[in-house]
Symmetry: C2
Subunit: 142 residues, 2 copies
DNA sequence: AAGATAACTTGCGTTGTGCAAGTTATAATA
DNA sequence: TATTATAACTTGCACAACGCAAGTTATCTT
């Protein structure tokens, strides 16, 4: 018997809908790792600075997969590994993550490459185009 | 004795910093209510569609106040009430909330005024300028 | 003075989270 | 080929967070 992963539909407000999928402390960190740090496997997420617990990571990856934000495939070079990657829906979270970075950079003490920050600030559209570009290049398609 | 509200500093990554303040299912709904629906008092938040519990609401308002995102003052017309309002730091969450709305509108079934959606999509900068403008008008300063 | 309302606060049972340890499948090594 | 290591989970358990209902205090309203 499968455990129930989905739960409540609180309202159809778009902000609420987004929060029901991503409104927790970990999901967007996984998306960040995929989008900006090139992390792809379970252990890479596990060792990624914020020290997520393995059971939480497993559940969040499942949720993100169910939500169509990431996909999972076996690593062709090592069948023990799975490689996770962002879908289009996932890469479209780039604006959201970018705004989170800009907001934190403005109001809190954060650590971030200054040149990345400056590009976000001075040319957001270009920065986002680059993110998408890098993502498409990184697909290494068959 | 005060209860400890703050907890963990997991990392100084700007995305993580934002998530440590706003990474839960309720905080941004309160910000939404303040920013887009003109809600200002405890009971208005309490009856706002998603049915937050009163103890959770009280704690989140305290957290938002501690984080400098909202301020609280007595209602001059009714001393039983407190009026909450966004700070500059709070209104600067408008881009973030806007991205959440756009993302959800693109990938999920949501309910939202079509003209608001179209303005976000076609002229994000103008939409954000309007939000800020409305907020400044709504201050009813002394 | 009595009842209603606003903003919380408290109790309590349920659910989610954070370690640590265990499991299974695959890979690398002797 | 047998042994050990690694990747991706899974399980157990203690503790914290959440959700609901009821209670409290201060401030109107009548």
């Amino acid at each position: 018997m499968k455990k129930k992963i989905t739960s409540d539909p609180r309202s159809s407000c778009p902000i609420n809908v987004t929060l029901e999928t991503l409104g927790d402390a970990w999901s967007l960190l996984i998306v960040r790792d995929l989008m900006f740090f090139g992390r792809k496997s379970f252990n890479e997420f596990l060792n990624a600075g914020e020290k997520i617990a393995s059971n939480i990571l497993a559940e969040r990856l499942q949720r993100l997969e169910n939500a169509g934000i990431v996909t999972k495939q076996r690593d062709p070079d090592d069948a023990r590994k799975y490689l996770y990657r962002l879908t289009e829906k996932g890469i479209d979270l780039a604006p959201l993550l970018t705004d989170m970075m800009l907001w934190a950079a403005r109001y809190e003490e954060v650590t971030m490459p200054p040149e990345a920050l400056r590009e976000m600030q001075t040319n957001r559209a270009k920065f986002l185009a680059n993110v998408r570009n890098q993502w498409e290049l990184g697909l290494g398609n068959s």
